[in-house]
Amino acid sequence: MKHAGSLFFVLTGIWLVWSGHFNPLLIGFGLASVLLVLVIVGRMGIADHEGAPIEVLPRALTYAPWLLLEIAKANIDVVRVVLSPKMPISPSLFECDSTQKSDLGRTMYANSITLTPGTVTVEVREGRFKVHALTNAAADGVKSGEMDRRVTGVEGQA
């Protein structure tokens, strides 16, 4: 019920922003569409902690700035490597641990790794990721496990 409620608010908000019309007729159409979607989602049984992960939202909001900062730093590193005449790359493929318990947490961690330039998650298994890194510095960043800890913190006891 909590998830269906959050889904209702998110979908209504999206309808309002996307349409930009605030007359009763179009808002009525929007509400009807949202309710129809909720009925379908309810019948499919996917309005759960994975389909509408509202519990992780507050913790994700504190994780996002840190991730953006990491992305910015990694961007600068990769730009420096690409533009330097010698191109000091040392590509490596290695495995790292993931301590997340749910698919949602693993998805967040794998996407966070891929989102930071210089590292790409190539293979995802339970508890074990295969990561391709462009430089040793980028590889060490993942191996330090700080991102893993933070994502596990975001995931919480879902």
């Binding site: 590509p91 996407n111 190539v122 295969k130 391709h132």
Partner: protein, 114 residues
């Protein structure tokens, strides 16, 4: 005030465009498929974020700002998924990744041929 906002916005757009270009340069310069993914990552994250933030400053506080924010959000969620799909497909049935060890070997092989 408006002037400063305009300058900041164009600065962001210019930096975003520059990062997009650097991603393109990396795509050409880097040696193999897996390394090129990292260059594409620069365009996907840094380039898109700076560019869209610059556009947000141009649009002021309106519905367009929220739409741009949504575009940025979806871009940041979907692009690593696409990158992962590409990388995973390539690893299972594609070119072997060029690793540091094999690169040194190949370089040695190249010089002996010359």
């Amino acid at each position: 005030m408006e002037m400063a906002l305009d300058i900041l916005s164009w600065l962001l757009i210019a930096c975003g465009a520059l990062l997009g270009m650097v991603g393109g340069i990396g795509l050409i310069r880097l040696p193999d498929f897996y390394c090129r993914l990292h260059a594409a990552g620069v365009t996907d994250t840094g380039g898109a974020t700076l560019f869209l933030t610059g556009l947000m400053l141009q649009s002021g506080l309106s519905l367009i700002t929220f739409k741009l924010l949504a575009i940025l959000f979806f871009l940041l969620v979907t692009s690593p998924t696409a990158t992962h799909a590409l990388a995973s497909a390539a690893l299972s049935d594609g070119p072997e990744p060029l690793l540091d060890g094999s690169r040194a070997k190949r370089r040695g092989g190249g010089s002996s041929r010359n």
